[in-house]
């Protein structure tokens, strides 16, 4: 099974020139384990790039490289046409790369304003509560966030609202690129829609968005391009509009004939949907797909 990328749709070329953030040949090993090998990724301003891949494909490692948690072993990161190093989370924030991790890291005992401004309160010795509240309300209004009250403790908020607060908090630092790690995992249908709307609003604000997801429906709903990682390498960049969920799953698992596609064929014997025949690796050995845990379409948080 070769990881040769066979994109079914040409990746939009726009990212090449207007890329806000470009990764080239990023490699990262943990001891003997190569988590990432020569990975490339581009994000332009006002673009949502979905980063998909199976468990252990290296998505989280890539995010940690970008957010300064793990410096890469090799490769270059270009941000706003300058080659940069991201040695620490603080450095990432300084550059304008904000990350919202899956565990949102909010303090449930504090209210929305206190959480938004945690660690960067205005006027340390006599808090400027008015200014912080005004700024919080303004930010949440810009995001059309449905938060019952900015004075409500975060414990009183739903999962989608907490995700909104976490994203809003990352926006306070005025980032240019925002990385969302599984923003819709463990959310209900309505809350997922809320977060997807929010992601579209981030794009309208001209931010580059990198969104990690296991959910193909969500990916196709908001992403402009889909970058597939497989076994720590690039496995194609797809146009989200022109590519079917089945093709994405094929790129993720490395085979067209897999558990997921067989299921969908059984469910739709008439063969509706795009023809999987011209997909990647159609002749892959049938045994292989059983070894690859298929996580596409599931909503678990099994990633690392």
């Amino acid at each position: 099974m070769s990881p040769t990328p066979t994109p079914t749709a040409p990746a939009p070329a726009a990212a090449e020139d207007g890329a806000l953030l470009s990764l080239r040949g990023i490699s990262k090993s943990f001891g003997a384990v190569a988590a990432l090998t020569g990975v490339d990724l581009d994000v332009a301003a006002g673009e949502v790039v979905a980063l998909v891949g199976d468990n252990g494909a290296g998505k989280s490692t890539l995010v940690k490289v970008l957010s300064g948690v793990h410096p890469p072993d090799a490769g270059t990161i270009t941000f706003e046409s300058r080659e940069v190093a991201v040695p620490s989370p603080a450095a990432a924030q300084q550059l304008g790369i904000a990350t919202v991790f899956q565990d949102l890291a909010l303090c449930e005992n504090l209210n929305v304003i206190e959480n938004l401004f945690l660690g960067r309160e205005l006027r340390a010795l006599r808090l400027d509560e008015v200014a912080m509240e005004v700024r919080s309300r303004e930010l949440l209004r810009q995001l059309s966030a449905k938060i019952p009250s900015v004075e409500a403790p975060v414990a009183a908020l739903s999962g989608g609202q907490r995700q909104t607060v976490a994203i809003a908090r990352s926006l306070l630092g005025d980032p240019k690129v925002i990385i969302l790690d599984e923003p819709t995992a463990a959310l209900g249908v309505a809350q997922t829609a809320e977060v997807l709307n929010l992601i579209e609003r981030l794009r309208e604000r001209g931010l580059g968005v990198i969104m990690i997801s296991h959910n193909m429906a969500d990916v196709k709903a908001v992403a402009d391009r889909v970058a597939v990682l497989r076994l720590g390498r690039n496995n194609g960049v797809f146009d989200a509009e022109a590519t079917s969920a089945e093709e994405l799953v094929a790129a993720i698992t490395g085979a067209t004939d897999n558990v997921v596609s067989r299921r969908s064929r059984r469910a739709r014997p008439s063969g509706g949907g795009p023809d999987p025949e011209d997909g990647a690796g159609a002749d892959a050995e049938p045994a292989a797909d059983e070894q690859v845990p298929t996580t596409a379409m599931t909503k678990g948080d099994g990633d690392e």
């Binding site: 303090c107 945690l118 660690g119 005004v134 309300r137 309505a190 429906a217």
Partner: protein, 414 residues
């Protein structure tokens, strides 16, 4: 799932009108919080009313001016220690050694002041510095080795008790001279009534003025603000309540300076915890350490500060206890001081689970505990009853905290 794309956009947040919060809205919000399990000070105030009523029925001397003056003074040493314990509980840790540290500090004060004839100020500073150093040492062990605070301070409980006995030497007891200002301050110094009334008026005025300035700033920014009516009423209630208290206490000796010092410490702590960046970081560390760390808060420094504040206030409490007793002996800081201080913080409404509570918890909690103690003493019941009753009240307070926590969970306010 793909129809999510066509789902209608989530409706905009209902634009919150910058409506002023009147008295009714304030009261409704209060009731709503209580129902949601955010009990605030209400259980302890209710408990205090019950205790005072029962004690007064059992012995009419209980609510006399003389007894209440004494009660107020008795509250201070352990109350100051409890204030430090509040810090520890807020960051989700505990200090079991506050009693021993207070005893050690009493011993240091007495030995330096009496045996070595140093000026009282030097003895005080040395004792407080020793407390500060102990907290710093605890924090180093906690931050560097990761030993739970429970175990570190349990070791400290024993270790510093030993150090206290060693410092006191074979005599075991040192009397502080009655004519020293230290003892006078703790026993005989009372605020003259006119000054007490002036302080009350100043306090009520300050409450009104800060509330007014805040409401004005919020209105300028287009935010809902407390109405003038509520502000005036709140200050008037405070003014009347405190004036009556001063008048009643002044029928006897009045309000002790030591009690004023305690109130000052409580108010200062309240300001630090609620209006500064540092205070927010204390609550954040108690609520979710990982979130605090990712927000760029120096978590270790916050822990260190909590340990240092707690042991330093314990040392100050020990000095005040010695001054009040006019002696430092082997049982200083022993017995129930330790548990009373922790119980006061918890009874006052500081959660043992971290991140919840405030400075007033120490004040309210210690008044409850001292009321029980004073009432039972008036009934000529020995300490066996006092221990049992205080234990039962502590259990009740912690049970209430746990139930309220569960209620907060179900109401989504965890």
């Amino acid at each position: 799932m793909s129809d999510l794309t066509t789902a209608p956009p989530v409706e905009r947040a209902p634009a919150e009108e910058p409506q002023d919060r009147g008295l009714r809205a304030t009261l409704a919000g209060m009731a709503d919080r209580v129902r949601g399990g955010d009990l605030g000070v209400w259980p302890v105030v209710a408990g205090l009313v019950v205790i005072w009523t029962v004690m007064q029925i059992l012995n009419p001397v209980f609510l006399s001016s003389a007894n209440l003056v004494n009660l107020a003074m008795e509250c201070v040493p352990v109350g100051v220690i409890a204030l430090g314990v509040v810090f520890m509980l807020l960051v989700g840790q505990i200090d079991l050694s506050v009693g021993s540290v207070s005893g050690l500090s009493a011993a240091i004060t007495a030995v330096l002041f009496v045996d070595h004839g140093m000026p009282a100020v030097v003895a005080l500073v040395a004792a407080a510095a020793a407390g500060c150093l102990i907290g710093w040492f605890y924090a180093q062990v906690f931050n560097r080795l990761g030993v739970p605070s429970f175990v570190i301070t349990l070791a400290g409980l024993l270790g510093f008790l030993g150090l206290q006995l060693w410092i006191l030497g074979p005599k075991g007891s040192i009397n502080l001279p009655f004519d020293s200002w230290l003892v006078t301050f703790a026993q005989l110094d009372f605020v003259p009534p006119w000054l007490a009334y002036a302080l009350v008026a100043a306090g009520a005025g300050a409450l009104y003025w800060t509330g007014h300035a805040r409401a004005a700033a919020r209105r300028r920014a287009g935010l809902p603000a407390t109405t003038e009516q509520t502000l005036v009423l709140r200050s008037a209630v405070l003014l009347a309540g405190l004036a009556v208290a001063v008048w009643y206490l002044s029928r006897d000796r009045g309000v002790g300076w030591m009690f004023v010092l305690f109130l000052g410490l409580v108010l200062a702590t309240h300001y630090v915890l609620s209006r500064t960046k540092y205070g927010k970081s204390v609550y954040a560390v108690g609520g979710n350490v990982e979130a605090a760390r990712r927000a760029g808060i120096n978590v270790k420094a916050v822990y260190t500060s909590a340990f240092v504040v707690c042991t330093t206030l314990a040392a100050v409490g020990g000095i005040l206890a010695a001054a009040r007793l006019a002696a430092s002996n082997q049982s200083s800081g022993g017995g129930d001081v330790n548990l009373n201080a922790i119980a006061a913080a918890v009874i006052g409404g500081t959660s043992l689970f971290g991140g919840r509570g405030n400075a007033f918890a120490a004040l309210l909690g210690i008044v409850v505990i001292q009321s029980i103690s004073s009432g039972l003493t008036l009934l000529n019941l020995d300490s066996s009853y006092r221990f049992m009753v205080t234990g039962a009240v502590l259990l009740l307070a912690v049970a209430l905290d746990s139930v309220a926590r569960r209620s907060r969970r179900t109401h989504g306010r965890a």
